[in-house]
């Protein structure tokens, strides 16, 4: 049973209106348990839309989405996945520990069990001493780690991440990538990961899914297995650079006339 199974999915926003957008057309994707899959592609190609479809935050226009062998809707109700976004999206008014406890609270866990799990998650992301601070007292990278802890708190088998490191500086980002790999390996979590960064996609993934816009589709899927024990040296390794080059080539095709792509936002959006 695959972790994610997207079959013949298309998504059209504002169908039949002048503002119609064909965000996704005939997308097929299967993610196996334990796999790390990245979605990459130019802005507006539908990466986030695809992720939201998997998360059942959107309904596909056509096609079907299955998660862990259930419908997407059922697996959302069952909390089969955790989610993290570009903005850590912590709640300012809750302490770090209470932020991590949020999904558990909603599942109705009792207090002690929640506290224990929060402690465990804080140790996992190596921030045990920050439990009682407020989110705004942490640096961006630490906030993002808390957000990951929150996403994993209920031990979901699947993690959905939408550019989670987009707001971090490159050095922190590389550090976070390492951490994410370690955590996912420890918890054996399947990950679908949206990113704009080629090295990030290559470094993290078993497979990189390259997408193109207008309408959004999958143009290529690149296998880049850098092995289980990635570390700082991997980033200087030849197969890392080879992976980068492969993904870049694949993207180049999708990314033709970049000069004025996505121009004139005002006209497009309203």
């Amino acid at each position: 049973m695959s972790a994610v199974h997207v079959a013949g999915v298309s998504k059209i926003f504002n169908e039949g209106t002048p503002k119609q957008v064909d965000a996704l057309v005939d997308v097929n994707l299967t993610v196996e348990p334990g796999e790390f899959v990245s979605l990459i592609g130019p802005s507006g190609c539908g990466k986030s839309t695809l992720l939201r479809l998997i998360a059942n935050l959107l309904e596909p226009t056509t096609g079907s989405v299955a998660v862990n062998g259930k419908t997407a809707a059922q697996s959302r109700l069952d909390q089969d996945y955790g989610m993290a976004f570009q903005q850590a999206g912590l709640f300012d008014w809750r302490s770090v520990a209470k932020n991590i406890e949020l999904p558990l609270e909603l599942k109705g866990w009792d207090k002690d069990k929640r506290a224990a799990r929060a402690k465990e998650m804080l140790e996992l992301v190596k921030l045990p001493e920050f439990a009682d601070l407020m989110p705004w007292q942490l640096s961006g990278g630490m906030q993002q780690r808390i957000a990951i802890a929150r996403a994993l708190a209920a031990h979901p088998p699947l993690l959905l991440m939408d550019e989670p490191f987009g707001a971090l500086d490159e050095m922190t980002r590389e550090y976070m990538q390492g951490e994410l790999l370690r955590i996912c390996a420890e918890t054996k979590t399947t990950v679908v990961f949206v990113t704009h960064s080629i090295p990030e996609a290559v470094y993290l993934s078993n497979r990189v899914v390259v997408m193109s816009p207008r309408p959004g589709r999958i143009t290529e899927v690149i296998n880049v297995n850098l092995g289980a024990n990635r570390g700082e040296d991997t980033r200087a390794a030849d197969n890392f650079f080879a992976g980068i080059t492969a993904v870049r080539e694949a993207l180049r095709g999708t990314h033709a006339d970049h000069a004025n792509a996505g121009a004139i936002r005002g006209v497009e959006d309203r």
Binding site: R76, G89, F91, D92, E105, L106, M134
Partner: protein, 260 residues
């Protein structure tokens, strides 16, 4: 540096205040302004001291009207904004009215309210204050309840959270700073409204009517002693609301939550 800054934050206004009072006193002395026109600060102060107990009584009457109205208006405003956030259609209906009412001089309704209730009771004044507060609170809190981060809502939906859970865990906490901002605006407004509503008749025991009747009787220094009382009352309301706002925003870390 910080201690120095704090000192400066305290001394500068003090210097300005002293200079202003000195200028006032000087102007009265120099131009020989008649007492019925403008009393010097020293005379006002001595009147204030002399009448302190009467000023206190009058301030407690006006202050009570402002306080009751403030509390009632806030409770009412918060409850209705909950309804509005729950039933969008209701919001579409009421918000334009609330926005419009914030722009019009509704204090003139006191004249009407006085006839709808007994002129001898404080109820019309309190209702007037409540109305003013209500609309300020409504507009702000409704904004706080609806203008939540989309990431937060999406996250809650990914947890399969109910609408009620979203209200409780996202919308309400998000609206708290807005509520206190509204309080900061409405606290002084409540005091001022309570004075102005004494303008249209009723019991003559509040600061507003004391001020007008003293002015009518050419007892200017006494009138300004009551004005001083009125300023102090307004400042107390304002200060309390600022303190509350700071307490409320300490948890959320956002130092400038004031948002209109």
């Amino acid at each position: 540096m910080t201690a120095m800054n704090r000192l400066r934050n305290f001394l500068t206004p003090l210097a300005f205040g002293v200079a202003f009072l000195a200028f006032w006193e000087g102007a009265v002395k120099f131009f020989e302004l008649k007492p019925y026109f403008l009393a010097p600060p020293t005379k006002i102060l001595s009147q204030f001291v002399e009448n302190i107990s009467r000023i206190w009584d009058a301030a407690s009457v006006s202050g009570m009207n402002a306080l009751v109205g403030l509390i009632a208006g806030t409770i009412f405003g918060v409850s209705v904004s909950f309804l509005l956030s729950r039933y969008r259609a209701l919001g579409e209906l009421i918000t334009p009215l609330a926005v419009a009412l914030n722009a019009i001089p509704i204090f003139v309704l006191v004249a009407v309210l006085n006839n709808m209730y007994s002129i001898t009771s404080e109820v019309p004044r309190r209702i007037m204050v409540s109305l003013v507060v209500y609309f300020i609170v409504l507009v702000n809190v409704a904004k706080g309840l609806t203008q939540v981060k989309s990431t937060h809502v999406e996250l809650m939906r990914s947890y399969a959270a109910s609408d009620f859970a979203i209200l409780k865990k996202v919308r309400i906490p998000n609206a708290v700073p807005y509520l206190f901002t509204a309080l900061k605006i409405s606290a002084p407004a409540a005091v001022i409204t309570s004075f102005v509503s004494e303008y249209f008749g009723g019991s003559q025991n509040g600061l507003g009517s004391r001020i007008t009747s003293n002015i009518a009787n050419s007892k200017n220094a006494a009138a300004w002693a009551y004005v001083l009382g009125a300023c102090l009352l307004g400042l107390v309301f304002y200060a309390v609301s600022v303190v509350l706002e700071n307490v409320a925003s300490r948890g959320s870390g956002a130092t400038n939550t004031s948002n209109k």
